[in-house]
Symmetry: C2
Subunit: 163 residues, 2 copies
DNA sequence: TATTGTTATACTCTATAACTATA
DNA sequence: TATAGTTATAGAGTATAACAATA
């Protein structure tokens, strides 16, 4: 596809966007799924802004949290808990290990297992990430209002509990 | 990184996952942002399941909806309305055009503009997509309950209105 | 000089299958 | 035979910059 050609036929619209022609989202406004999608994009942007200095993605943060809450957990369990493919999680842990945040140890009991711990550096970093993550969630609460925040927390908890 | 080696030192855990050691998400359960992320993943999966027969992604569906609601809209306006990069939207429209769902016409007024319309096939397909999309949103309503559904619709509408 | 759209590139995610080593 | 982890691969989405055509 190249640029619009001179042989343009009977097209009428596309004139001045400055005019009073507000665009409509159509059926999308009726779908909660679309609102949640847009909310999620906003949240990731806000999260990344808050944690930009640490170079930690939302997914990396979630893995650090789970290892912190379950010292000695194995990779597959983390992947299932977070609904991440185990192959993808392996690479994610690779990266965290190369940054010295996570320690991978072979299980003494079952040698198919890796056993994951946070390093001292990982624990220290997570201590700094936590308030930043809480800040980004506060920004979300400010955006939607405290009552809606509480309602949503309760309504959407089922998506993380049946993991 | 290879497999755990024989020289595994003093690792203790990672034994029998069948035992009663429920994994914890840690701080993640406190973050609404994480719940919304998980909810959004669930929704995309459900949407893809409902619309599998049509081979239409959520993003493609959203573009069809916007063109339908705004015949003669130009690409940049669609991109801004949906918060998609214009380069990415160009490829997306390429695909819809190659499937005969969207017609690209050069604007007679401003030749920098493309002017987008649904073709007859596009209109016909969208008529079949709409109930399927509504179905997937109903599945979401069933999952979280009708009251929460209404509350969320209102609380999250701000993310689509200030587009 | 600014704007619409395209192209190219790169990077991240995701999904899948095949492979190993262990059980 | 099944499981934990890795590797390789391909596809989608995203972000960026550079470019042509037009205003």
């Amino acid at each position: 596809m190249t640029k619009p050609s001179r042989s343009a036929p009977r097209a009428v619209s596309g004139t001045k966007p400055a005019k009073a022609k507000p665009l409509a989202l159509g059926d999308l406004t009726q779908l909660l799924g679309y609102s949640i999608r847009r909310a999620q994009l906003w949240i990731f942007k806000e999260f990344s802004r808050q944690l930009a200095a640490f170079e930690i993605s939302p997914a990396q943060f979630s893995v650090l949290c789970v290892i912190d809450a379950n010292p000695g957990v194995n990779q597959l369990a983390v992947a299932q808990l977070l609904s991440i493919e185990r192959a993808g999680l392996g690479r994610l842990v690779d990266h965290l290990e190369s940054r010295g945040l996570v320690r991978r140890t072979a299980s003494a009991v079952n040698r198919r297992y890796y056993v994951l711990y946070l390093t001292e550096a990982g624990i220290a970093l997570l201590a700094r990430l936590r308030p930043a993550a809480a800040e980004s969630d506060k920004a979300l609460a400010a955006k939607i209002g405290p009552r809606a925040y509480k309602e949503l927390r309760q309504a959407l908890s089922i998506f993380v509990e049946d993991a």
